[in-house]
Subunit: 163 residues, 2 copies
């Protein structure tokens, strides 16, 4: 079998990715910024001009969080990965943005290059408007909720039913 | 909202990715090879020396298919995406390799660069041994099957149960 290149930084990279999502979920701006190198780059979405360095990254964080009173409820949820190859990794996740009974769900795949210390040297986020769907929360009975995908890609639930 | 760069090749790229998986699933070697440019590159896994050009790509196809009598049952299944940004795209999928009552499942994220005609100029596949899990098929009753994730990452089913 062909093997992917081993990396002693594998565990550090996995820890950084886990923390990258945890700091986003908890609104920990400084913790999130500390995961990048001093000249770290963020290209979000892929193909757009990259932000470089902590000041630019901080401005990006503030931009996507400004005027969003429900920030505490914005969460990311891992869908697949992380898949670590050497000092690179890719992972698929969903950004979930609640708004009343609706949840905007953005499907995103991140690709990042790390240092040997597990810091993010460059991160590119793949998503587009075509990767956004809306789910509706319903409460059919006590203690239970169901959700329905109404726009865009099929939901994870319907995917798993294809087995 | 920040928008990803539009591309007139968006539809062509999506069609190529769909065909890339369909030709793999049907064992259509020539159809799969035709999706690359003449000097197309494949880096699988990411970080390994790339194969370049149709001869090298054909040798790669033959290598991963040789001595596998159950090829007809090897399938890939999209998990998330494709997420198209300009002439690039990323998508998460599973390669499912049946072996008796077990299925080896390899979690993979592909990242590719395309031409304006929707041909693959370069494709990088992110996976590692850590992204392989084994599922066991069971037949608890007529017309039904269940599966259990026994190794590695949690299954899509268990992920969706976290909602």
């Amino acid at each position: 079998m062909i093997r992917s290149p081993a990396s002693s930084a594998d565990g550090l990279i996995r820890a950084t990715i886990e923390r990258y999502q945890a700091t986003f979920n908890s609104g920990d701006r400084d913790g999130w910024l500390a995961l990048f190198t001093d000249d770290g780059e963020l290209e979000d979405p892929a193909g757009s001009p990259p932000r470089r360095g902590r000041d630019d990254l901080a401005a990006f964080w503030d931009h996507i969080h400004e005027g969003k009173p429900d920030d505490a409820e914005r969460t990311v949820r891992m869908v697949q990965g992380p898949l670590v190859c050497g000092l690179e990794a890719a992972w698929a996740f969903e950004l979930r943005i609640p708004h009343g009974e609706r949840i905007g769900v953005v499907e995103i795949i991140d690709l990042a290059v790390f240092t040997n210390d597990g810091l993010i040297r460059r991160l590119r986020a793949f998503w587009s408007e075509a990767s956004i769907r809306v789910e509706i929360l319903r409460s059919p009975g006590p203690g239970s909720t169901s959700r329905t995908s109404t726009v865009g890609e099929e939901s994870v639930e319907s995917s798993s039913q294809q087995q």
